[in-house]
């Protein structure tokens, strides 16, 4: 019943692809980088760690150039409307490249991975693959593309999580991540299939048009929504789809944990925003009751649950990585607040918050790694008295944590400020959410401050070893991250403006 396409059609298809490829250069470039890295690993023997790392960083930096060139291009959808080139996507491209670079930097200082004798080639390759996947997640406009991108990210993430083969916790994490991820993406896929069934479309713009035009059967719609939310929520690590994250974050190699907790979460949000803002038709009668049947109420509950759960449970953690894992759940909740407002300010706030989160979370993990290199553990008790032994790192970590709490004058505070501004700009409508956010951030202060508490206020039970020295490079990275966190805390204008600029594409879809 399907007749073969004629030659002419094939010609046109090819030409379209060629045309589209022009807008696809960063992705292509990074895919090439991916292969180059594997080859590099093969040609150079085992003693290639430094080389690979530098190559990766160089490559990623290179990609910035191509992304920058895209800024001048017009917003287009290409590959038959499967993929879009727009400011929103570009913002996230920058974001993911940056996170990739930071991931490499963190990897370079991590002793755990150093001890890991087998080559690191695959590691860096996978890292780059993940960058590509996340870029695609951010800019896909078609269900199929979204699914593929998401799978690409997930698969590389599984591999990276389990990269420490000798480390039981790493393997366990990988297994849990895999099973959980596979099921979640299965649900997502099923949801997609239902949408496809309802609209006979896979392009999100057209989907929204069809849904708006013909309406839909609410029951099926609910099911679809829930299934898709399960898939996206898993990426974002939001309650109640977060269960994988604490274990995975704890088990995975710390650089990977950082990478997942920042980058893939961000990718999840990027995709959510695109899908939620574009594909879902919303009339403006959405603020009826939190229990009203729509995406918004689901997101509200998810966000509230994430903020409360993440912060409350984090109080209990004694392992710093796990603590940060739970806190990242809470942060997912805060980010969702920005999306809920469904307006430009909210979106802008989310982007700013993500940028802040990138800096402060990576900073925190970076210092945690450096400390772990010396203490060999991530347990709170082993942080006692470290403040005196590593003044710079201690100060930096404190700054990052304060920023995570959201106290001025740090970038984290700006993130929270903008999120809450977005909420209150809607009047008293979302006051309850704002209150939850505020109160939970007070709770978060408590567990975040446990770390400085141990570092400064308590004497280490082991005899004083004197100052711990870290490499100059590490010092520079930490210091620059700290300074950036503080700098953007005081002068956040450029980033906020750029975020605003990037949200412009939703103008039509947001009120």
């Amino acid at each position: 019943m399907f007749e073969m396409p004629s030659g002419a059609e094939i010609q046109s298809i090819i030409s379209t692809l060629k045309g589209g490829a022009g807008y696809f250069i960063p992705e292509i470039y990074l895919s090439v980088l991916f292969m180059v890295l594997i080859l590099l690993d093969l040609v150079t023997g085992k003693k290639n760690r430094g080389l690979l790392a530098t190559a990766t960083i160089a490559g990623l930096l290179g990609s910035v150039y191509f992304i920058f060139k895209q800024q001048t291009m017009p917003d287009v959808q290409f590959f038959f409307g499967m993929y879009a080139l727009d400011r929103f996507g570009i913002f996230f491209k920058y974001f993911f490249v940056a996170s990739g670079i930071l991931a490499v930097l963190t990897t370079m200082v991590d002793d755990q991975l150093k001890k890991h004798e087998s080559g690191m080639g695959e590691y860096y390759a996978l890292l780059v693959a993940m960058v590509v996947g996340m870029m695609m997640m951010a800019s896909s406009t078609d269900l199929l593309m979204m699914f593929l991108a998401m799978e690409l990210v997930s698969l590389s993430a599984y591999a990276m999580t389990g990269y420490l083969k000798r480390e039981p916790r790493s393997s366990e994490a990988a297994l849990k991540y895999l099973v959980y991820g596979a099921v979640s993406s299965g649900m997502l896929l099923y949801g997609f299939s239902l949408i496809y069934g309802m609209t006979a479309e896979t392009n999100i713009t057209r989907i929204s048009m069809v849904l708006a035009a013909h309406g839909y059967d609410p029951l099926v719609m609910i099911l679809t929504v829930l299934l898709i939310m399960a898939g996206l929520g898993y990426k974002m690590g939001a309650v109640p789809f977060h269960f994988w994250s604490p274990d995975v974050y704890e088990g995975a190699p710390t650089p990977v944990t950082a990478y997942l907790s920042v980058a893939s979460k961000a990718a999840g949000f990027a995709m959510l925003m695109r899908f939620f803002f574009v594909a879902v038709p919303h009339g403006f009668d959405m603020y009826v009751s939190p229990l009203h049947i729509d995406w918004l109420s689901i997101l509200m509950l998810v966000s509230a649950a994430s903020m409360i759960y993440g912060n409350v449970v984090a109080i209990w953690q004694k392992n710093v990585k796990r603590l940060l894992a739970y806190s990242s759940i809470a942060h997912a909740g805060y980010l969702l607040l920005g999306i809920i407002t469904m307006d430009q300010l909210g979106t802008q706030a989310v982007l700013v918050y993500l940028a802040a989160y990138l800096l402060m979370n990576y900073g925190a993990f970076y210092v945690v790694i450096l400390i772990a290199n010396h203490t060999g553990s991530e347990n709170l008790d082993d942080y006692k008295g470290l403040g005196k032994r590593m003044p710079l790192l201690g100060a930096a970590l404190t700054v990052f944590l304060i920023s995570l709490v959201g106290l001025p004058p740090t970038f984290g505070f700006i993130g929270k400020l903008m999120i809450f501004s977005a909420l209150l700009a809607k009047g008293s409508l979302f006051m309850w959410l704002a209150l939850i956010g505020i109160l939970t951030s007070v709770i978060s202060l408590y567990y975040y401050m446990l770390i400085p508490l141990n570092m400064y206020l308590r004497e280490s039970n082991t005899p004083e070893e004197g100052v711990i020295t870290t490499g100059m490079g590490a010092k520079i990275v930490t210091a620059s991250l700290m300074i950036l966190t503080l700098w953007f805390g005081l002068f956040f204008q450029p980033i906020a403006n750029y975020a605003k600029y990037s949200t412009a594409i939703f103008g039509a879809f947001l009120n």
């Binding site: 099911l223 829930l226 109640p240 269960f243 274990d247 689901i298 449970v313 109160l439 408590y446 446990l450």
Partner: protein
């Protein structure tokens, strides 16, 4: 340009302060602890004060003399709703001020002089004079100030100096207790005074006497008359504290822990009189109701403390209670409206009571700090000077004719009688009754004292030894002289006695030994007309005498000598009155009282003389001829005796109620603070330890850290939630599925209905 008198009075005010400043910093560096500085400066002060006295009293000799000067102290700018607002500080000099200045500076100087002998060899000799200096300064402040705010400030400062001086032997616990007690008791009074001031300020936005009186006269007082009465009574509370009236009299006897010169200066002559002086200053705004309260409290105090004084053994305590009783007289006098009489008594009492205290000080000094009269006796031979002066003062206190005390006390009693009649008798007769009863007892206990101290055989040997030794060392910084014979005191202690004794003779105040009214004092310090709107309509007495009052007023216009206008019934009495040209009282009640007072002049004299004779007679019978054995009597009426001896148990009562009470409250509140308010923390902590899943340290900080009950909930929820994270990936999946299905079910239900 300030009037020269003002400048002089400022000098009078500041010189003692100078002496304080110099001595407090340099007393150790100066020779003789710098006492000459104190004495010298006070001498100068005295000279200036006397000059002021001379100019005002002798030269002007004008009842209406008044001189005022003030400056802006606080400037509140242009206050919304009020307009420009300042708080002014100022000085006022009138006859009363001049007299007080002279009196205070004189006694203060004498006490300085006396102390050079009495305090010789004390550890903190120099500091003592510094304290005297600051006291004198603040006392002058009270006398000179022209507004409520500044008088309140100096009031407190006087309290401070009294605090310091009572606690001069601060290493004695009794002294430390006494000084604290004095200060706190006074503070209680001051609260009332402060509230009274606030009532007036809240109406007029000023503190100045004249402004306030003017406002009240114009009827600017917008609250009810009751508030004005309240203001009067509250202001009177300040006097109750300072002048040791019932119920705040308890501190004064304990204050005798201070060195005797201090007792003479502060706790007999000047400071305690400040209360009366203050009441005099605000006399005109007292409503009749307020005056009743004052009169009764005064009368009761006079009576009560007299009863107590009868049975005391400590020579200074007897005097202390007699002081309280005499102050009671003054307050009574003010209460019954015989203003000038009260102030007259203030003056005379200052002299003879100071004389008595200094005399007792001389005795104590000579007896090596023996204060118990039971162990004295037969001193008249050994200390003739002291004996003579002491007995003169005693007679003055007892109110024997030819003494100053007679003049003033009699005037007050006359006033009391008049008051009782005007108010329509009944309950109001209690006031004079108390007064006369007190007079009897005064005569009695003073007689007793003189006899016990000066006559009979020396009973020193009867004293249980250990007690004696203890006292001597405790009371004395260090024992410079051993136990040699009792001897007359040196000149610098004798001179003050003589001066003060001479000042206790009638001639100083009035040519007529029987009528102070003829004296210069009563002429210069005349009862001012009240500014309170008359509320006589309700008044028994006023109804009674309304016609006279009216006539009196009518004719007062034609002829200022309202005395002639007085009804014939009182003509004879009236003609005896010295007031050729007294003031005219618009307020009928006041006019009545003044009038009846004069009417009762002779009755008062007769009665009080009777009382005096009775009292001294009793004393003779009991102690001289020993017809009645005091101890046996004491046994016979033991409960009464104990009641008096233990000062009506007021200390015990207060201790049991107020002090214990507030300590209890404070304990309770502190507990409440530590355990309830804060302690959702600790409470939670205890509850929580049962939930403690790990290292007690951390969970303590967890719990205490989160300082409120949410801590608990947060903790427990956290503890429950984290259990969800089982570590088994399949349970995770189950939960996700449940979540999805749950939501689906929820919405399904929502949808179908």
């Amino acid at each position: 340009m300030m009037h020269s008198l003002i400048q002089l009075s400022i000098a009078v005010l500041l010189l003692p302060l100078l002496s304080f400043v110099v001595l407090i910093f340099f007393n150790r560096r100066l020779p003789r602890g710098g006492d000459f500085v104190g004495v010298g400066l006070l001498g100068t002060t005295l000279a200036i004060a006397l000059y002021i006295f001379w100019t005002v009293i002798v030269q002007h000799y004008d009842p209406a003399f008044r001189l005022a000067w003030d400056f802006t102290w606080l400037d509140f700018g242009n206050v919304p709703g009020v307009g420009p607002l300042q708080v002014k500080m100022g000085i006022v000099i009138d006859n009363l001020t001049a007299i007080m200045l002279a009196m205070v500076s004189l006694i203060s100087f004498l006490v300085h002089l006396y102390s050079t002998g009495y305090m010789k060899g004390e550890t903190y000799y120099g500091r003592f004079f510094a304290y005297l200096g600051i006291f004198t300064f603040s006392m002058f402040g009270i006398v000179l100030s022209d507004n409520l705010f500044s008088i309140y400030m100096f009031w407190e400062l006087v309290g401070l100096s009294s605090y310091l001086l009572i606690g001069f032997y601060f290493h004695k616990d009794s002294a430390a207790d006494a000084q604290k007690k004095a200060f706190l008791t006074n503070r209680v009074g001051d609260i009332g005074m402060w509230l009274g001031i606030l009532i007036l300020y809240s109406q007029f936005h000023t503190f100045g006497y004249q402004e306030i009186f003017a406002h009240i006269k114009n009827g600017d007082f917008h609250m009810s008359q009751a508030w004005l009465t309240a203001a009067g009574v509250l202001l009177f509370m300040g006097c109750v504290g300072k002048s040791a009236q019932f119920p705040l009299h308890v501190w004064l006897p304990d204050a005798m822990e201070g060195p005797t010169p201090v007792s003479a200066l502060i706790h007999a002559a000047t400071m305690v009189a400040a209360g009366v002086y203050f009441m005099a200053r605000i006399f005109v705004l007292l409503t009749p109701e307020a005056q009743h309260v004052i009169a009764f409290i005064g009368a009761f105090t006079a009576f009560m403390s007299a009863t107590i004084a009868i049975t005391q053994h400590d020579i200074k305590r007897v005097l202390a209670y007699s002081t309280v009783s005499q102050l009671g007289y003054m307050v009574l006098g003010l209460g019954v409206g015989s203003y000038s009489a009260a102030l007259f008594h203030l003056l005379t009492h200052a002299f003879f009571k100071a004389c008595l205290f200094l005399g007792s000080g001389a005795i104590i000094h000579a007896m090596h700090h023996e204060q118990d009269m039971r162990w004295m006796g037969g001193l008249y031979k050994k200390m003739p000077w002291t004996f003579v002066t002491f007995s003169i003062a005693t007679l003055a206190l007892a109110g024997l004719p030819l003494t100053s005390g007679f003049l003033s006390k009699d005037a007050i009693l006359a006033g009391a009688l008049g008051f009782a009649q005007v108010e329509g008798g009944g309950i109001f007769y209690l006031v004079p009754v108390f007064g006369f009863a007190a007079a009897v007892m005064t005569a009695f206990y003073m007689g007793r004292q003189v006899w016990l101290v000066f006559f009979g055989e020396s009973r020193t040997h009867l004293k249980p030894a250990e007690e004696h030794g203890h006292d001597a060392h405790a009371a004395h910084g260090h024992d410079d002289h051993g136990h040699h014979e009792v001897h007359e005191v040196s000149w610098n202690m004798r001179l003050p006695l003589v001066i003060l004794a001479t000042l206790s003779v009638f001639i100083v105040f009035s040519p007529d030994p029987l009528d102070g009214g003829k004296g210069w004092f009563m002429h210069l310090v005349q009862t001012p007309a009240t500014v309170v709107a008359s509320t006589e309509a309700a008044h028994e007495g006023a109804k009674l005498h309304a016609p006279e009052a009216g006539k009196l007023l009518a004719e007062a216009h034609t002829d200022t000598q309202h005395v002639e206008a007085a009804p014939a019934a009182h003509a004879e009495a009236a003609s005896n009155e010295g007031e050729g040209h007294g003031p005219v009282y618009a307020d009928p009640r006041q006019a009545e009282i003044v009038h009846m007072t004069h009417a009762n002049h002779w009755n008062a004299i007769k009665l009080s003389s009777l009382m005096l004779i009775a009292g001294i007679g009793m004393a003779l019978i009991v102690y001289v001829f020993r017809i009645i054995d005091p101890d046996k009597t004491a046994q016979a009426i033991r409960p009464l005796y104990l009641y008096s001896f233990n000062k009506w148990y007021w200390d015990e009562i207060y201790d049991a109620t107020i002090i214990k009470g507030s300590m209890l409250i404070s304990k309770i509140l502190a507990w409440f603070d530590a355990n309830i308010v804060d302690g959702l923390v600790n409470g939670v902590a205890t509850v929580f330890r049962k939930f403690a899943f790990f290292n007690g340290g951390v969970d303590k900080y967890v719990v205490d850290g989160l300082v409120n009950f949410t801590a608990f909930t947060v903790q427990t929820t956290g503890a429950v939630f984290r259990k969800i994270q089982t570590g088994k990936v399949q349970t995770y999946l189950v939960m996700v599925v449940f979540a999805v299905l749950g939501w689906f079910a929820l919405y399904f239900a929502h949808l179908v209905k």
